[in-house]
């Protein structure tokens, strides 16, 4: 056989066969008959659902399609409902749904599943280098106090101060109030009192001033307030009611609440903000998309509302500490194939690009160091939603200046939180009602009235706790 001819023949064969094999493999991949379908429960409902749906669609069409994985959302609900469902499923309760492959979970609900051996240690699916890309505190929270990574951080949140500057500026123009005063809880209380007086003067009726602020979570406020003042809310799994810092924190909301300067409300502060019933509120960063650009008043008149987003207030003389919030994602134990597929989804979801895409539309905080850095600055510059832009700028500032802490993790913390909120609102509402009645009955000395209705409130609050 002539060498040239033989060379041509083998050249043709060696060139064609790999191409043909690649084509066949490509086609075979495209027509993968049985993609792995992973079920997902998440708590990104309401306004956040659209963004989450978009992200899942995007995964299914890109990385999911490449790896033969389809994410199927089978439950979207509040974190409390998901926790309840997870507990039911883990406990094998009658009628309980099957556990999903991936679920959003707070550390306290994940702890229950981890104790039953139902969660995958995600350390096995991430290299040390991959994990080093994440903010260490976020990973630490997911280790539930142990060594294994059971809750993977996907999007975190903290609490900030939202201020309707349209109303505030009007008030400030008349009274000289300053936004900077709202950097401390004491300043907020003083401004709230001033705002009440200012609004009271706008109508001929007496004592009909308006509320100034609201806290979305009284429990978180107390928890962080105690920490800012150098103490701890819990000692040995119990609230230390006798600690001096506790009373200070408690009173700084109780008094404005009774005097009508702060709102006692079961819903979120954004509801009251929409109708101009409050001017500022402290709540989760994830609540930013719930603020309306318009304030509508009771007579159906309305005006555009500008929003200022400020760092979490600090007690005077206290440390700059804020709460680190937000659920992570846990993977339920199943087969090695499903667990690996779930890890692929988590890696995709938390890649800096996708993570920032998610947080820039929802008000959550990114979880990787890279996403918090220059990438975030770049993303901030391209965000069209003004409130989210302001929020991320504030969060960057807090990231630099604040220490973040997580809620304590022990059995019964949920009950403590629920009781705390319920008891406080009951006592405050009752005192407020008594305060109003006494004022309406002609006693015009507010200080004396307040003292008379609240003198036993703190003791009543403590004694009503079911320990």
């Amino acid at each position: 056989m002539h060498h040239r001819f033989r060379g041509l023949l083998f050249g043709f064969l060696f060139a064609f066969i790999p191409v043909a094999l690649l084509l066949i493999c490509g086609c075979a991949n495209q027509f993968a008959a049985n993609p792995l379908i992973l079920t997902l429960w998440h708590n990104y409902g309401g306004q956040l659902k659209e963004t989450m749906d978009e992200m899942i669609d995007k995964f299914n069409e890109t990385a999911g399609a490449e790896n033969g994985i389809i994410i199927n959302v089978t439950a979207i609900s509040g974190s409390a409902t998901i926790s309840e469902k997870l507990a039911m499923a883990a406990g094998g309760e009658p009628g309980a749904p099957a556990l999903p492959d991936i679920t959003t979970a707070y550390p306290k609900s994940a702890l229950l599943l981890a104790e039953k051996g139902l969660l995958v240690d995600l350390d096995q699916h991430f290299t040390a280098e991959e994990l080093s890309a994440f903010v260490p505190q976020f990973l630490e929270e997911g280790r539930l106090g142990g060594g294994e990574l059971f809750v993977f951080p996907v999007a975190k949140s903290t609490e900030v101060l939202f201020v309707n500057t349209t109303i505030f500026n009007r008030f400030a123009a008349d009274t000289g109030a300053k936004l900077a005063d709202l950097q401390t809880f004491e300043g907020i209380a003083r401004t709230a009192a001033s705002y009440y007086e200012w609004t009271d003067r706008q109508t001929p009726a007496a004592n009909d001033g308006k509320m100034f602020f609201m806290l979305d979570s009284l429990f978180n406020y107390t928890l962080i307030g105690c920490k800012q003042l150098g103490g701890e809310l819990f000692h040995d799994g119990t609230i230390d009611f006798k600690a001096p810092h506790f009373f200070r924190v408690w009173e700084y909301f109780f008094k404005p609440a009774v005097l009508g300067h702060a709102a006692i409300f079961d819903g979120y502060a954004t509801d009251l903000a929409k109708t101009g019933d409050i001017v500022c509120s402290i709540g989760s960063t994830a609540g930013v998309s719930f603020f309306s650009p318009i304030v509508t008043y009771a007579d159906n008149s309305s005006e555009p509302a500008q929003l200022a987003i400020m760092p979490y207030p600090v007690f005077e003389g206290g440390e700059k500490i804020a709460l680190q919030r937000g659920a992570g994602m846990s993977v339920i134990k199943s087969t090695a194939e499903r667990e690996s597929a779930a890890a692929i989804f988590l890696k995709w979801f938390t890649s800096p690009e996708n993570n920032l895409h998610f947080v820039s539309r929802t008000g959550y905080l990114p979880v990787t160091v890279e996403a918090f850095g220059e990438l975030m600055e770049h993303e901030i510059a391209h965000i069209s939603e003004e409130n989210i832009k302001k929020l991320l700028q504030t969060c960057r500032l807090m990231q630099e200046e604040y220490d973040f802490c997580t809620a304590p993790l022990f059995e019964g913390i949920d009950e403590w939180q629920a009781q705390y909120e319920k008891r406080f609102k009951e006592i405050a509402a009752a005192s407020r009602e008594a305060y109003r009645e006494q004022l309406m009955n002609g006693d015009s000395t507010r200080v004396r009235v307040f003292e008379s209705v609240s003198s036993r409130a703190f003791d009543a609050f403590i004694q009503g706790f079911n320990r």
């Binding site: 064609f16 609900s77 819903g267 954004t270 159906n300």
Partner: protein
């Protein structure tokens, strides 16, 4: 033998060209075999392709896809017809119960239902009183929202009061969660006190009242009721195309019916909402091979689908892409699928099926709807191309494998034994050559061996004759001039007497010369002499 050997070498060394003058380039046995095999393989390949084309196998992907689309469409169209029919019924029920309840409430406050616009101070109480009814209607329906709008506003003095109507709009944020113990209901529109008194959050895009400046779901049922006062609600309900409520971001479809007092006078509308998300979760095609496959419920015009007023169920990218298009012209293809074109560009291939949303005698019976299963044309072309590339690649691989096998085996089992056999032929001693185990070659070797022996014998004989002739020729050259003259005349055929006369010599002289000539040429007679002469002439030689 040398020439024969050269031909053999050329045959089995294909690269070497015939270097002999006037020789032509030959084709080696191995190359011929390869070409024959390739030609055979290519013939089979072309034949198989022809069969695939004739039997329609190459377009089987289209056929199978169409069957899948048809099955998906049948299922989806049936579900939409059933679900939308049920929502139409619930809308009629809600309109009936709300009409009666609101009329009664207004009556207790001393005003007719149609007179509420003159009493805005009553609206909050009347609307709040219907909250439970609306909530229950929402929870038992498969809808994402419920609403009612009264022809009245709380503040007639506002600039936009003519477009602002009081009412209630409850939205289920998670309608896909069946039997949820904690439904996520928000107040999209209505008095905030309704939300606060009932532990409902205000929707992020909450408004106090409805903006009806562009609200066909409000105007159309009211106009239908006014124009057809004797028709029942079942002939007056209306399905809007997909729309986005002012200030909100999500697309919805609305089924609405007029609120009628006992006199048949309309004083508002009520109805249910299907959000784009609910539609997607309910009717998203389950096919996993086509990422961009989507289902659409769209107004069906004259051979066209109105994509702008449709709800879509499909992946994110499919929905985003479809939103860039408006009116799709429907073209029926000859064999497979319908084409859906915009500006003569085929955008989608798919199938559609009319969906009946109204009774035949409804005011809105002229508005036709269709459910369609669509896929971007490039996706289906790419899919079929991929399938056919796979098929062709497999065929090509098969052919190549066949050629390689036949080449290797042909070389080993066919060409090499022949070349070895032919090498044997080149050996000197064919008689002792080993058997090639190819009968034809062994026969040839045996034949050539025996033939070789014969040729050797003959050659030996031929060599002997040639020696005699050469000796004769040498002897001729020893003749004297006189003898040579006589010899030449003998060679020309003259007799002795004729030669004597021709040479003017006596016959005796001629006889003397003849004796010497015979002696020198070593012949016995004139006849023998002439035989030599003839032999020389036959050989073309000269003396």
């Amino acid at each position: 033998m040398q020439r024969l050997n050269l031909r053999f070498k050329q045959l089995f060394n294909p690269g070497k060209q015939d270097s002999s003058p006037g020789g032509t380039a030959g084709v080696s046995l191995g190359r011929r075999l390869f070409f024959f095999m390739t030609a055979l393989a290519m013939t089979i390949f072309v034949g198989v392709i022809a069969i695939l084309i004739l039997t329609g196998v190459l377009s089987a992907g289209l056929s199978e896809s169409e069957k899948m689309f048809a099955s998906e469409l049948l299922h989806t169209a049936n579900e939409i017809t059933r679900d939308y029919g049920l929502i139409s019924l619930r809308t009629i029920d809600l309109a009936t119960s709300l009409s009666a309840s609101i009329e009664a409430s207004a009556g207790r406050m001393g005003v007719p239902a149609t007179g509420l616009k003159e009493h805005p101070e009553m609206l909050e109480e009347i609307i709040s009183s219907q909250y439970e009814r609306a909530l229950f209607a929402l929870l038992v329906s498969q809808c994402s929202g419920v609403f009612f709008i009264l022809d009245a506003t709380v503040n007639p003095t506002l600039e936009n009061a003519s477009h602002s109507k009081a009412g209630l709009y409850l939205k289920n944020m998670e309608p896909n969660i069946i039997s949820s113990s904690t439904p996520n209901i928000t107040l999209l529109c209505g008095f905030p006190a309704i939300g606060r008194n009932n532990a409902l959050s205000l929707h992020a895009q909450w408004t106090m009242e409805f903006d009806i400046s562009a609200a066909p779901y409000y105007y159309k049922p009211l106009a239908a009721a006014a124009a057809n006062p004797h028709l029942p609600l079942s002939r007056l309900y209306y399905w809007s195309g997909a729309l986005t409520l002012p200030g909100t971001s999500e697309e919805i479809m609305i089924c609405s019916a007029p609120l009628l007092d006992s006199q048949g006078n309309a004083f508002g509308v009520c109805g249910f909402e299907i959000s784009a998300m609910l539609f997607k979760l309910s009717y998203m095609p389950a096919h996993r091979h086509f990422n961009h496959l989507f289902c659409v419920l769209a107004p069906l015009g004259d051979e066209s689908l109105d994509l702008k007023r449709s709800l879509l169920a499909g992946g994110y990218s499919a929905r985003v892409a479809a939103r860039n298009h408006s009116l799709l012209r429907i073209i029926e293809n000859r064999r497979y699928f319908y084409s859906y074109q915009e500006n003569k560009d085929t955008l989608y291939l798919g199938l559609h099926e009319p969906v009946k949303l109204y009774p035949d005698d409804s005011v809105f019976a002229g508005e036709h709807w269709a459910a369609a299963i669509l896929l971007p044309q490039e996706d289906i072309v790419s899919s079929i191309t991929s399938l056919n590339v796979l098929l062709f690649s497999l065929l090509a691989l098969l052919i190549i494998a066949g050629i390689i096998c036949s080449f290797v085996l042909g070389q080993k089992l066919f060409v090499k034994p022949i070349t070895d056999g032919l090498d044997l032929l080149k050996s000197d001693n064919l008689a002792t050559a080993p058997k090639t185990k190819i009968p034809e070659l062994d026969d040839l070797i045996e034949y050539l061996s025996s033939r070789s022996q014969e040729l050797s014998q003959k050659a030996r004989q031929e060599n002997f004759s040639l020696e005699i002739l050469d000796q004769f020729l040498t002897n001729v050259k020893q003749l004297s001039a006189a003898e040579r003259a006589v010899f030449d005349l003998y060679a020309e055929g003259y007799s002795a007497n004729e030669i004597s006369r021709k040479l003017f010599l006596s016959i005796n002289t001629i006889k003397t010369h003849s004796k010497r000539i015979y002696a020198k040429l070593n012949v016995a007679s004139r006849e023998e002499l002439l035989l030599y002469v003839q032999l020389f002439k036959a050989l073309g030689k000269e003396f």
